[in-house]
Symmetry: D2
Subunit: 324 residues, 4 copies
């Protein structure tokens, strides 16, 4: 197995579960380091019980992660496959996000073994699963951080715009915004263009101030939507509406941290299920969760389809901030 792409809390729990569940069935497990680079460079470690004993609650990944440009080339893929064949590896499990899965789907032209994806990304933007490993922790991390910002916003009765991660997806912004009682959420589903957004933000600030009097006002925004991000939005609010607003960018704290219980359980569940699927001979699939149970979807589905957020929740949030 290997971990690839952005690290996500719970990746270690998945590594542990895959290892122990395989060992239960007498299957040997090796972990390649630094994502696909480890496959190409044949950098690996044999995994046993002592190595994974204390990692269920630890952030990051003991196998390290990385992006890998070389794995996008025919040569890189061929080298990786050669190494796997030389080790007689029957199946490869990749814990990562859609970029990693995209590489994995192409890899089956080179590699003769089974391939299985386990979705690990804080963005939750993978179709075919209700949740990805790391999402729950990232939401809690961002919420805890913004709770602190709210304290200062309340003390000074000021306006803050907080930028959260989520490159191509609004799950983090929406969930974090609802949990923080954000006065406004900027996400993929409700963003049209900077001019309209600026106008809507301005109007909402004025309306809520009129209703509540001077008080804190919190805008939670997904990154990469408003051009220039939180800093530019704050600057534009000042320039065009004379509204004083402090920008905050949460940044990398959202990717690390000890996984919350939900991510540990999800990773344990998915990791074991990945081995189950290997044992019955399935390949080219991703493990997903739906309700209480794991399921499998074609790897291609997870890559090609876009999973949208629950817009109903966005609608509720809007109404909670718009009182008669």
């Amino acid at each position: 197995m290997l971990t690839s792409g952005g690290d996500a809390p719970g990746m270690n729990a998945a590594i542990r579960s895959i290892t122990l569940y395989a060992l239960h069935y007498g299957i040997e497990v090796i972990g390649f380091r630094h994502g696909y680079n480890g496959l190409i460079n044949n950098e690996f470690v044999g995994l046993d019980e002592p190595l994974v004993r204390e990692i269920i609650g630890r952030g990051g990944t003991i196998l390290k992660s990385a992006r890998c440009e070389e794995f996008k080339t025919v040569q890189g893929m061929q080298q990786a496959a050669d190494n796997l064949h030389a080790h007689s590896v029957d199946g490869l499990i990749v814990i990562g996000g859609d970029g990693s899965f995209s590489g994995l789907t192409k890899f089956k032209q080179f590699y003769q073994g089974q391939t299985i994806g386990v979705p690990g990304t804080i963005d939750n933007d993978i179709d075919g699963t209700d949740h990805t490993i790391g999402f729950a922790t990232a939401v809690d991390t961002a919420v805890n951080a913004i709770d602190k910002i709210r304290d200062t916003a309340d003390a000074f009765e000021r306006i803050f715009v907080v930028e959260v991660m989520g490159r191509k997806s609004g799950f983090l912004a929406l969930n974090v915004g609802v949990a923080c009682a954000a006065e406004h959420i900027i996400t993929f589903e409700n963003f049209s263009n900077p001019g309209i957004e600026l106008q809507q933000v301005t109007e909402k600030i004025k309306r809520i101030k009129k209703q509540r009097g001077q008080c804190s006002h919190l805008i939670v925004s997904a990154e990469n939507l408003y051009p220039g991000g939180a800093n530019q939005l704050a600057s534009d609010l000042s320039d065009y509406a004379s509204i004083d607003c402090i920008p905050c960018i949460l940044g990398y704290i959202q990717r690390g941290g000890d996984p919350v219980a939900k991510d540990r359980i999800l990773a344990t569940h998915m990791g074991a299920h990945a081995i189950k699927e290997l044992l019955v001979g399935n390949s080219d699939i991703m493990i997903g969760i739906e309700g209480q149970f794991c399921k499998t979807v074609a790897l291609s589905q997870s890559v090609e389809h876009h999973k949208g957020v629950n817009e109903y929740l966005l609608d509720i949030q809007e109404r909670l901030q718009d009182l008669r």
Copy 2:
């Protein structure tokens, strides 16, 4: 509305959501205090935006909670209904567990308005909803506590038995046990009788010690299963198997605390949905969540049916602790 029974993190978030969503539609909201006692004693407070502005992230319940013996009597119910009728209350929303809902189903013989239940309990033992408000927080609280106990167990390479709440249900024990990588979980689904349990615990301790050498060993147990609880189990292990084991009872820390993001979002979602259902005239229902969406079930279902844990997860956990 009122909050009833054991408090659960997220009850305040539900109070906020119900209040604001109602105010969005111009509906007046009052909160009765101390559970059903407030109905009987006509103790209430008008709820507006400032009162609920800062409570989404706070544990406990601003409306207070209580058990209420009087509400089990005809006289109590009649008095409560009289008070609601005198206030011209069109609908009553009760945030609580199955005991509270059991009272609410009977109350419709006395009260002419609509009744809606919102499931709030750390036990997650209510049928008709994937999750109850407070469960996610309680799991994380218990896991954080047990992570600390694991540190000491590791340092001393000793055996601990930790008792978690969950009067009639194994959700807490199972989820906490999996997230803590517990060597053994005692829950309703796998408990037969004390003698067999003692034997199984003893065998597992010996087997794991044989496989791993001296190391920490953690047993997570639901309360009210092994007679005498964790203390008696530890004592019996000493008496009958000469195994030294330290008992810990997590107790009331599991009921309080600031709600995690998931419980805040769930409570916000369910609270708004309760008002939606009131607006379309529904009654005698409970709000549930299934996947990403809220649904409604008959209040009677939530009371009468038992919701079992995911036994598949228990099976995985067993295999992870049993390596070849």
Copy 3:
């Protein structure tokens, strides 16, 4: 009393302690809102036990805070003093930082009552006290955030530079850096100029990489030292040394949050001591802590002297990162 300047976790605990300790002696307490603005605008609230009952553990300040330009003018100070005299206020307690105390020292020309400062700032940059209210919490907040960043840095074996608050003081950077095992700390005490710093950072990165191989490398920097901050340092490392480094700015999360035990206890201790000093007729003083006991220093001392960090700790940290 009032809270002024940047908010700090524990200000509410101080408000509680001052209020209750005064009430114990039958002294009436009022709180002015929004810092010195409240004095000028006569905006205040009577403080009693129910108002402060649940605030010992809450971030921010229930009295709100603000900067106040008007209080720097003779007219503003006169208006403030007139309001205090009209209320027959015998003594004014200001919870804040050196800017707030600087105003307070001048205010005694206008106000006839006693004045007492209680040091509340996350920067810990006030002379005459070992610790200020809020510092311990801010350190823990930053450390918890950077622990998460370290997870990602470890997973990718990359270099991060993290900027912490501390406008004119290195306490946060030093303590946070030591607690996070930072490979390098940039603080007032060891910073000379950007060119030398860039060179030192570069050399250290190369030396440690040579010793340890590829691994994470964390630089913790006080804000306002390296021109352009963490972003510019990262950019310069790339331009001048071809070193890839990710900048993170922790920002406002450091100011809020529930106070840790130490800040609650410190605030309780200092608040009570402030009332004690009022009762014995002292004025124009600041409450400080030294070891286990409170003391008083002239307000002017806290403003005029600069308190330096423990350079011995900085020396230790350097040696820990420089192995034979």
Copy 4:
């Protein structure tokens, strides 16, 4: 070096600091496992940078800890000394509490090298140092737990008695009680006998109820004072005063957990200072902290003298709960 006695958060940070500071001076370091047992059984591990790289923020102790009856015998001590002499160990650093130091003072009759104690215990009951490693974390852990209990106590307006650790010392109870705004604290300094305590608790409950009306009431008690502990006190309150009170015993969660910044810094500081003292030839001493600086005291002092809590803080707490 070795870690001995009850584990305390920050022991790993001390192990890291001792190791790296020694390596800076080219000194070889080995760690004996399981406390003094490791000395006797010659069970040890060579410590280098990679082994201690990621442990500064981890609870427990990688060297494991244990009580050791054998080390109380002449034979055990002789065996331990023989092993140290065989390894040509110049100095032995013991991280532990007063029991461990008591053994160490006797050991100098057998061992010819230098001996240094580093105080690590959550109880803070060691004379010659303001703080011990682990105390700050244990206080925060207990406070966080009791904050959750307070939520439930508030929701139900009920009385709780919470028992914290601190076998022979009131530091934990006092600090935790102040930080939690406990209505009553039972500690070594104010406890006379069970009858008087029961009477005082009863009177205080009645007085506060009279002043505030029905509300939560929290008693924080050190263990091993009231005979039978929290459970018996609750039972006696019910029997003799008809007061309904819920007992909670925090137990082992107080010993583990990731160390807060203060304990990491303290451990880093003390660990480095221990090596400094070894280098200048000192022996039979304990490292202490006073204000910002480390100092040394005779090991015998730490064992023989009793360090009392700050009774002034206890007096403040009493007055805060006794309003006119």
